[in-house]
Every structure is written in C-alpha cells, then in structure tokens.
C-alpha cells in the first residue's frame, strides 16, 4: 500500500502543535526541507529533540516553533555556536533537556526497544547527571559498580531522510547512519523523506541495506535535496559555505528574518528552494560517482 504524499501533507497530517519532533541525522541526512515546512505551517510549542540541533533547529527556534530543545551537542559543527538557541538559553527563553551523545542515543535505543531504561557505565562526570532528573542509577545485581540509566524517548514524530525508499516506506541508507533507525523505531509516527523513490525490486535486491520497515512508516515523501545545506552521501556535498554563512547571519536578528523570509517563507517547497540556490551552488555541491561493489544474494 503506497504511503506517498507531499511533504506539505505529511507535516500537516502528522505534526501538531506541542509535539515532540525528532528530525534525525548526525551531520548527514538532516531533513532541512521538513524543518522549513514546519516553519511555513506555523506549528508552535514543539519540543525539538536531536543529538545535534544543527542549523535546522536554530532556524526553527528563530521562527518561533519551539518551546523546548532536547540535545547532546548544541554547536554549529566545525564552526562554533548555534547563536539563536544559545541566546535563548542564556536569556532563559527556551527550556532545555541535556544529555551526552551516548545518553541521547541510549534514550532512543530504549524507546526503540520497548524498554523502561538502558544502562550505561559510569563516566565520573556527574554534573550533568545531577542537573537532569531523568538520569538515575541502578545497582548492578552481579556486584559491580552502579550503572547510570536513562528512560526511553518516544518522540511523537520522527522525520528520517534516506537515499532511497519504496512507496511503502522500506528505506535504505548508506554513509553515516547516526540514529536514524533508532529514532524511527522509538517514535509514534514516522515520516520518511527520500532522495529517490525506487521500485520494490531495488529494495529487495539488497535487504541487508534496509534499515526501516515500511509498516512502521506513516508517510513517504519524495524530496530531492531535502538535506541541503547538510548532505546526502553520494547525491550532493555538504554546503560548508552555508554553515559558515549562518554563523554570520545568526549574529543579527534582521538578517535572520531576511533569511527566513527569502529561503523559507519565500519558497513554496524544496523544489523552489533548490532552483533558487542556482547553478553555481548546484555545481559546487555536485559529486562524482563512486560505486560499491555489488554483492550476490543468490537466487534460491
């Protein structure tokens, strides 16, 4: 059964005011197009969860979509601060819930596994543990050191961008996997955005590559270039120029407003956004192919 729909419709149907949203992807495959669509639809009071909020949550906070951010690293990777989130936190205008990377993905893993908690070994760094009441300790019943535990995270919606999916939502990813699979299994609803919608036979030619099964997916959206200025391995490069530019833009609220007006509110969808970026940017982000050696599953 096809779950294909426009990204506009998927956001409309599955993201509500007040939801906890997990837009997945560690540097790679960040679904910027979905974040922009959420901004355009004026959705409010979201709890935005991501290991690395990245530019997309800085923009969503700037646009007034969020009341809270759950994270483990709140920087512009390789550049510096996320200025908008940082300013809001310093001003007390945004609620935060903070983990280490392992803590954050352990919460997702617990959610994805239907478990009440996941144990981690102690790290000796207790200040975060003491600042966040979700952290608890459990005695090792085999007599070792106490372990640190965290409860499951069950986002209302996970948004997961992938290289290719079929119309039922079976999705294949290569390159950095981040927490894509765990976010999808942990969430109540799953929106898959894909660079390509491929025939079922492509997916079934390589079932070990499939990370997400269609039956946990609610909507499949065909959104080429969804992750710009993040990237999709094999499809286009990371736009480091934009990551550096945001550092400047976000210094100045007027510039931020101008950016959102032009690049988010000013375009109807991702296709318009990508066209607007222009040939020079397209060329700069183009990637030469480098194919995997195929593997033989055998016809049994």
């Amino acid at each position: 059964m096809t779950k294909l729909m426009s990204l506009h419709d998927a956001i409309k149907q599955y993201v509500e005011d007040g939801d906890c949203v997990y837009a997945a992807g560690f540097t790679h495959l960040i679904p910027f197009a979905a974040g922009h669509e959420i901004i355009r639809q004026g959705i409010k009071d979201l709890t935005l969860a991501r290991a690395t909020p990245d530019l997309i949550y800085d923009q969503m906070v700037a646009a007034g979509c969020a009341r809270k951010v759950i994270f483990s690293y709140i920087g512009n990777p390789g550049v510096g601060s996320l200025r908008i989130i940082r300013a809001e936190v310093e001003a007390g205008g945004l609620e935060i819930e903070e983990y280490s990377h392992f803590g954050m993905i352990s919460r997702l893993q617990a959610g994805a596994s239907g478990l009440p908690f996941i144990p981690m070994n102690q790290t000796g760094a207790c200040d975060l543990e003491q600042s966040n009441p979700n952290y608890k300790r459990v005695k090792d019943p085999y007599g070792g050191k106490d372990v640190v535990v965290l409860p499951p995270l069950h986002p209302d919606v996970a948004i997961v961008h992938v290289q290719r999916a079929n119309d039922e939502g079976y999705a294949q990813i290569w390159g950095i996997l981040g927490e894509q699979k765990e976010a999808a299994f942990a969430a109540r609803h799953v929106i898959v955005t894909a660079e390509e919608i491929v025939p079922d036979e492509v997916i079934r030619s390589d079932p070990n590559r499939t990370l997400i099964p269609g039956f946990i997916v609610d909507a499949v959206c065909h959104v080429p270039y969804c992750s710009h200025p993040s990237y999709t391995q094999g499809y286009y490069d990371r736009d480091n120029v934009m990551y550096l530019a945001w550092d400047k833009i976000s210094e100045n609220p007027d510039e931020v407003k101008r950016y959102l007006d032009e690049w988010v509110y000013g375009v109807a969808d991702r296709r318009e956004y990508w066209e607007k970026l222009g040939k020079e940017t397209h060329d700069r982000l183009k990637v030469r192919p480098r194919f995997s050696y195929p593997v033989d599953y055998g016809a049994y």
Partner: protein, 251 residues
C-alpha cells in the same frame, strides 16, 4: 623554520600517538595531529569518528566531524549507538582527544557552561561524545592554547572527567580508561602526577616555567625533571602545510 602556536601543539600532540593506536578523532587540530602521525611515525594509526566511521582516509580536510569525505573509502561505518557501545564503552579505543573552555588542575573539562548551569553566563555546546571519551578511551590528550581563563583551579561544570578531585576517584567510579595523560598547549606539556594533579613536564623551546604559571589559574607545580620539546621539524611542517591544511585554516 618558523611555526605558529597551533603548529607547535599539533606536532607535539602527534608525537604522543603510537603506531597501531585506535584514535577517537575530533575535527580541527586533533584531526591534523592524527593525520600527521599517520604520515610520519604511526602509519597504522586507525582513526575512528564518533559519527560511526572507522578507518577513514579523508581526501580533504573536513570541516565537520560528519563530513562525507570521511565515509567514502573508509573501512567500516556503523550506527552511533554501536560506536559508543561496541567501540568506546567496550574498551576498543586507545586514544581520545579532548578540548573545552575550561580545564582544571585534575584534568576535568568544562564544555557546558560558564557560570551556573541554570543561569549560564556563557552557554557552550555541551558534551557531545566527550563525556564518554574521557571515561572510556584508554588514554586521553587535551589540546588547548595556554590562557589563564582556560585553566581555572576548578571547572564551573564537569562535562568530562579527568581525575575528578584526585587520583583514585576514576578507579572508584569504575572508569575503564586511564584518564587524561597530557595537556599539550602552545607553551609546553603538563602531565598528571601520582595524585592526578597536572604538573609541568615539558617546555617548548624558549619558553620559561614562569610563562606557564602566569597563564594558569592554579599554583602550578613542576616535575622534578622538565624536558624541552624538540622544535617542529621541517618535514612535519611540510606535511601539515602542503598536504593536510593547504588553505591554512588551522595555522
């Protein structure tokens, strides 16, 4: 040959790495130190990135720790959950590189907030994977410019553990790794003594102990024997400048 403060740190950090080490690499200067070591005395150094990439052979200098150049041509890519559990927590990482806004006398690092957590003066990016790296990598190295505000007696917030408040506390918490083994700055190198306190063990050429003291927020002790580091060699600087960072981003 002339060299910059960053080059001095990178070269000295590279020399701490051993051939065959598996290194949990961050971007920026640690990345350069690892690649320099690989091209000099440690050709089988293995680079692991917290994004889940093992055995990367980046063709270009990545801006981000999750750059696609780290993936193409690497030996293995796995999920973040796997990299933190099977690699780091299991004890499969030899070396981690750490940095932060504050490093204290016991090698504890603050990358979270300056001021109070609930009402921060400066909100920093937070732990990322450094809490776990500091705990579970067999040994850690810290690279940072030597400035007094970066070296308080006690960090405002302990993002990742050094020796906590003295030797023995790591063992008491059951931490797998041996903790930070050296802080490499642009003035010299500090290493932990038997109490876990960082003391001066090496000075870069031409630097005096007094300069380190003047730029450190605690009463800095000096090891019985203090060596002077060898200056960056021509071939080291050449690799850095011509191969690894031709645009001079981290010079």
């Amino acid at each position: 040959m002339e060299y910059t403060a960053n080059e001095l740190m990178i070269v000295n950090a590279a020399r701490l790495l051993r051939d065959g080490d598996t290194v949990f690499v961050g971007v920026g200067v640690p990345n350069l130190a690892c690649n320099l070591a690989r091209r000099t005395h440690a050709p089988s150094l293995l680079m692991i990135y917290e994004a889940g990439v093992v055995g990367a052979r980046p063709a270009r200098l990545p801006l981000s720790i999750g750059d696609p150049t780290l993936v193409s041509g690497s030996a293995l890519v796995c999920s973040m959950f796997d990299i933190f559990s099977l690699y780091l927590q299991r004890g499969n990482v030899d070396v981690g590189f750490l940095g932060g806004a504050q490093i204290d006398k016991y090698g504890n690092i603050n990358a979270t907030v300056v001021g109070e957590y609930g009402h921060p003066k400066v909100r920093l990016p937070g732990s990322g994977g450094s809490m776990e790296m500091a705990a579970w990598a067999n040994r850690c190295y810290i690279m940072t410019p030597h400035q007094k505000r970066r070296f308080p007696e006690k960090v405002d917030f302990c993002t990742s553990a050094g020796f906590v408040s003295g030797h023995g506390e790591r063992a008491a918490a059951g931490l797998r790794g041996k903790g930070p083994q050296a802080v490499v700055t642009d003035l010299g190198i500090m290493e932990p003594d038997e109490t876990g306190e960082f003391v001066v063990t090496a000075l870069h050429p031409g630097v005096l102990v007094e300069q380190l003291q003047a730029n450190t927020g605690w009463d800095l002790r000096v090891a019985r024997e203090v060596r002077v580091t060898a200056p960056p060699q021509e071939h080291e600087l050449q690799i850095l400048r011509e191969e690894l960072d031709p645009q001079g981003i981290y010079r």
